[in-house]
Symmetry: D2
Subunit: 370 residues, 4 copies
């Protein structure tokens, strides 16, 4: 694996590295950790790389790695959003499969361009919608698909954070509130999109319409930091399910509280990212079951994605690693059908784009289409 982005001070670069290498199917061997060659080299040394393979530009890396016998076999894009398109396009053009951080790009137009590039290249392309890698998220999806809830009627998905309640300071915060680097969406593009992807992933249903109310609460902020989005899902024969998506970065005391509740005719289901090893299933007759990761109650897909027995907590890094495990499977020619790719990326960008535009216009219900 070669990486672009993720240099010193970055949060997500080391996360990609750990996740990619966790199952020993992938190894980070090269990277562009800064546009400044000396800083990139410093970044490479922090990862323990051969200094010669810490490049000063993507172009340089792609041409060098392409010709090495032991060259990188794919590129991980972990730069801020505005760079996703150029980096991914260049890597694909050079023949490298790409795994990229979400969201797909900074704008919907860019996402369409990238989707076309993926299509043209015919190469694997994946997006690290981390939360879809959690074993119990997969279990939730599998149970709903198998009819455990009956027809889905209602989805409540929330993603509360509080870290941007004060002024946005530090490397992580600054680019997220800057439209030139984050794109048109603030909170909606940073975390709202995770909630959207999780809702579609778990239910297996597509959102067809939304009503968005995005606010920039902290004085002086240009991008939204608090979002409410009402959702309607496609009608698969039992009426269109209703949904609510709440995402915020100004809820003091909330750390990374992504959670989803899905209700159907026959039951309900609850999962929370901060307690990821527990899934609660409610039945119409009043029974409630608690399903724990690592136990014999999990279906095959979830079971294959835990590394320890029940009671040994697995978390964010392991969920992330599950996406890399899927990606490795796809590189080997497998299908890894649950790994998010260009189609999910396009949907997510359409979600951000539609929500931002509809909210700004004070539009009511607005259809969501790719």
């Amino acid at each position: 694996m070669a990486m672009i982005g993720g240099g010193p001070g970055a949060f997500i670069g080391p996360v990609h590295r750990i996740a990619a290498e966790m199952d020993r199917e992938i190894e980070l061997v090269a990277g562009v950790f800064s546009g400044d060659p000396a800083r990139s080299r410093a970044g490479g040394m922090a990862y323990g790389l051969d200094p010669a393979r810490a490049y000063g530009s993507l172009a340089e890396m792609l041409s060098a790695e392409r010709v090495r016998a032991d060259g990188a076999q794919f590129v991980a894009v972990v730069t801020p959003n505005h760079d996703h398109l150029p980096s991914a396009r260049a890597a694909l053009a050079a023949g490298f499969p790409v795994i990229s951080d979400k969201p797909m790009t900074a704008t919907l137009a860019e996402a369409r361009e990238l989707a076309a590039a993926v299509e043209a290249a015919g190469l694997p392309f994946a997006l690290t919608y981390t939360y879809s890698g959690y074993p119990l998220v997969r279990e939730a999806r599998a149970r709903i698909a198998a009819g455990a809830l009956g027809a889905v009627r209602k989805v409540v998905v929330e993603y509360p954070q509080g870290w941007l309640a004060g002024p946005a300071e530090g490397k992580q915060a600054e680019w997220r509130v800057d439209p030139s680097r984050a794109g048109a969406g603030g909170c909606i593009g940073d975390i709202g999109v995770h909630a959207f992807q999780l809702a579609e992933f778990v239910t297996g249903l597509k959102v067809t319409e939304l009503l968005a109310d995005l606010g920039a609460v902290v004085p002086g902020r240009q991008l939204d930091d608090d979002c409410t989005v009402l959702l309607r899902f496609e009608d698969v024969g039992f009426g269109a399910a209703r949904g609510v998506l709440l995402a915020s970065q100004i809820e003091v005391g909330e750390l990374n509280g992504l959670r989803i509740r899905v209700y159907g005719e026959q039951g309900g289901l609850v999962w929370k990212q901060e307690e990821p090893n527990t899934l609660t299933l409610h039945h119409l007759d009043g029974r409630s079951e608690v399903i724990r990761a690592g136990t014999g109650l999990l279906g095959p897909d979830a079971a294959r994605r835990t590394r320890t027995p029940g009671g040994h907590p697995e978390g964010y890094l392991e969920a992330f690693a599950n996406l890399y495990r899927d990606f490795a499977e796809r590189l080997r020619g497998g299908s890894a059908p649950l790994l998010p790719g260009a189609a999910e990326g396009l949907r997510s960008m359409a979600f951000i784009d539609t929500a931002v535009r509809a909210s700004a216009a004070g539009a009511g219900w607005t259809s969501l289409s790719v």
Copy 2:
């Protein structure tokens, strides 16, 4: 206390009786438990009343009790919503103070009429918005009023239930889904209004605008059973706080999950009705505090409304009793300023009315005024 409603099979009648009598300041002595004299008498006997004081009609009760030396001193109205106005009006007209179950009436027009009657009578009038009786709800209100969160920015109030996910069967369910008895609102009038009242009560802020999306999810249902309402609160100088109100009666597995989260510039606060003896307070600097009922950490209003030391759970009946304690205080001439009355009732009815109309019309943001 004389009661109208609450006969055999009712849930809320016995609750009023227990709550009223818990602190031994009030005693149930008379009632109209059915329009049928024999059934009313049976109801009275179930409560252990003197059979002569289980009346067949309100008029009969009011004239009889008025002239007894030991006559009832106020009337509790616990009938379905459509009866609240006539019963309360008649009691007030006969000189009896009234405490009534919520919502105030079946329609906003009726509420205005009742508010005028209360005004004209000059008698105490209270509404049992139960959840505002919980000690830690009062503590939350007091802390916010004292500035613990700084300016309020965001409110999330939820009231999930699941008991109407299937067909509405039984005495409790049937009238709630019948517009002729429940009024124009289903879920919004039954529980959404509790969430609304709680949000205004805890924050001390009034809602000025709302955007409502009410749905009737269960096939064949005439009234809403699943509600999402976006809120804007009055701007008291720091920007208008944003709010979201979720109420549902089709979320399988949820029992009575009322909960509220309030976020301000300096902190956040979480309270949940099903774990009512705990209040969590988050500070901007990362600290989180857990405040438990019955401990020395509570302010005077909350402290006076617990009956046991910390760790001895108090619940719904005790919260309800706190409203009756306030009512008794008012009957004795005290102010009991936190007890909801006609003003709160009018606001609540305006909330239901506005939400129902705005949702039906597909209107966007709609101003809320009494």
Copy 3:
């Protein structure tokens, strides 16, 4: 009901009064609230009693109430432990059924004397082991009796408190650390005995042997404030179940954390007093169920002891009221088989006595017999 004890400043007197009256089958009509007639009268007025019925001594009350047409029909003893025997004995001798706070008496010898007096009087006698009144404790007992866990193998019962971690100050604390009023046991007699009673109640098994390690942790304290007791239960054919009982009053931050876990061949079960409306049931095949009070999943005994639908928290006062409901049933001639009486009281006193003696002697396993 007539009460002895529970005067101004007492915690448990008002609790008995609320609990007794909650279901309107019982009414407090008389009492001895102090040995000083004036203070007793003040106590009676605080309860709203007829001043003539707030007596200055038990003897006076018994003779007066016995001859009134509307005289009290039973006596509630809520004095400190050393007074339980004389008060109960006198009341029984005067023909009054007795309900008494736990523990039965201050010493085992006294308990034997009182048990004999109960036997001789042939009158109802009950002890308010409050926690056995919780609906889900009764559900736990019923499920274990029905074989839900298979043969019981292990019991862990804990009762942590922290309020005596500092110096014992105030009316509640002082008598509890004074051997002349509390008896030979401190923590073991105040709360350890509740844990013991709960363990026998829930499992339906009797403790046959114990190994006790009681400590007086706070400097200068004469009675134990921290207890560990190992238990062996009677062997009903599958081996003697093992048990651990932990009780402490010096665990800072713990309020009233009584909890019990029972494990058998086929399952496990967990209940916690501070979250009393939830019972968790684990099955050997990995499934875990959460059973909530007020739902249709409860058996008849537990169901009859909730007053509100699921999700409306009931707590300590309601559990206490369930014991008075049982007592009322017994006064009417019913069996109320789960209400603790003299036999349970004797066992509890034998537990305290054996634990105190065995610990003081540094004895190992010691048999427990009444």
Copy 4:
């Protein structure tokens, strides 16, 4: 790193591999995965090793790796307990530092022998007491050391599991119930020892005496599967703290519920392995604080041992990796003072040995000495 043990079907081998490699300071390059050369090779291939470096015996590996320029620099011992001594001794003798799974050896005598070998070799030696690697365990230790609780008075440490409630089947279970492979302790040596080490680690106090009651509950089991051990800690000037250690493998429904509560004069502290990212701190004045991993509230040692911001759950593998990070630091000449080594290993073995002997003899309080 070279590994002995951890072949196909093992749970702990892959855990060591992931943990060792997580921070990219260590790489697994060689191993003995079976005594059968072909099976060992298969094991090596499962890890993606050079087949030439999957050896058929430890002796073979040590001599081969010692002379390679890129040879392993230390040996990880992950075999069953009875093999810990011979493997570690041989590796040390060959000049390799050793990191070994716990417990140190199968018997105390062996532990003494190994401690002498470590001493003689003058090489780094560490034991993977995993739970001491959790950031919030280190925070707990640091806070207690800094006096947050005042003098420690009471420790309750529990380690409940349920997976051996039925017959012991499968590779993981079989050796644990076999005295010839597990040593004299069953549950006490498998998990009780973790609880013991955690108690000493967190409090910084040594256990001086114990009273053990070990039982073999499942019919036919030779080793203990349910343990209660009373503890006394050294008196550092404020009285000897009291302790209780509960460990069980027959508590159905418990997965891996290690948890510890420590109470002092001024406060209390609670940590639970299954919710490892939260530490609760209680103060004598009634305040309770919740401290979450990854936030600014953590001290330097804990802060350095998280890899993601607060709200991104880290778990068992990350805690394990923290021990390897410490070990790497020690290999580089650093002190890594919190990494358990031979001294802790000896204490742990003395604990197992004393508990097993004292319980079998029915001895009461027995002193614990190395």
